[in-house]
């Protein structure tokens, strides 16, 4: 299945792209996603994506583990937020 993966703010800077498309096996969760990303990105990038303060959203909703992805999902890696 195909999903879109988005990177915001400092994570977009680290990854060097705002979004990528990836193909995942079915079924797939966060472990499968990280495995596919790990083939594409360096250890430095992967460490940044897996930092303790990074949250994951699925289709614009904050997600809690364990995650299970579906075809067409929009996954985002969100570094710490602050507005106002």
């Amino acid at each position: 299945m195909d999903i879109d993966v988005l990177f915001f703010a400092s994570l977009r800077d680290v990854v060097g792209a705002a979004s990528i498309s990836v193909q995942l096996p079915v079924p797939a969760g966060q472990r499968e996603l990280l495995a596919v990303l790990g083939e594409r990105f360096s250890d430095t990038v992967m460490q940044a994506l897996q930092a303790e303060n990074v949250r994951i959203s699925v289709n614009k909703t904050l997600a809690t583990q364990p995650l299970s992805y579906s075809d067409g999902d929009e996954i985002a890696f969100l570094p710490p937020i602050t507005g106002g």
Binding site: L6, F8, A9, S10, D13, N53, S57, K60, T61, A76, L78, P79, P80, I81, T82, G83, G84
Partner: protein, 160 residues
């Protein structure tokens, strides 16, 4: 409760927001509290050149609506407007505008401050600050987190 949440690159026209509120306002409103946040030109003794604000279209609006709903459950509010800018803002520019109308001042003040506290911690934005020496992504401070958490504990003044 009338609610308007807008994310925009354009500047915020405070006078227009206030006039629109007065135009649509039911008469039982007696109190309007507003807050405007500006880009400070200094941060920890370093000059701030600009602040660049990024959002996640759709998710950001939803995160703010969730905060407004919490405020509406907590206080009797008649009208809430939140306008938040994105893009690159120079020092002294307006970042955020919060306007709360209610029957009485206690609710208007409390809700306005509550909304700002949660915008700091729970609204989906990212801010990058540029100084002459560096560019860095900001995080909400420990102080911001503790201010937002403080609303979750029972507030003895709330009955007033």
């Amino acid at each position: 409760m009338h609610v308007s949440v807008r994310i925009q690159e354009d500047d915020i026209w405070v006078a227009d927001e206030y006039r629109a509120l007065r135009d649509r306002m039911p008469g039982t409103i007696g109190a309007i509290a507003t807050f405007i946040g500006l880009v400070r030109d200094q941060q920890a003794d370093d000059e701030v050149l600009s602040l660049t604000i990024e959002h996640y279209p759709g998710m950001t609006e939803q995160s703010i609506h969730t905060i407004v709903e919490s405020a509406g459950q907590r206080w009797p509010l008649d009208d809430v407007v939140i306008v938040h800018r994105v893009g690159e803002l120079a020092a002294h520019e307006q970042i955020v505008f919060v306007q709360v109308a209610a029957g009485h001042r206690a609710a208007a003040f409390a809700a306005c401050e509550f909304l700002m506290d949660y915008l700091k911690t729970d609204a989906v934005f990212w801010k990058r600050e540029a100084t002459p020496h560096q560019t860095r992504w900001l995080e909400s401070s420990a102080q911001d987190e503790s201010r937002a958490r403080a609303w979750k504990t029972p507030d003895p003044t709330e009955q007033n």
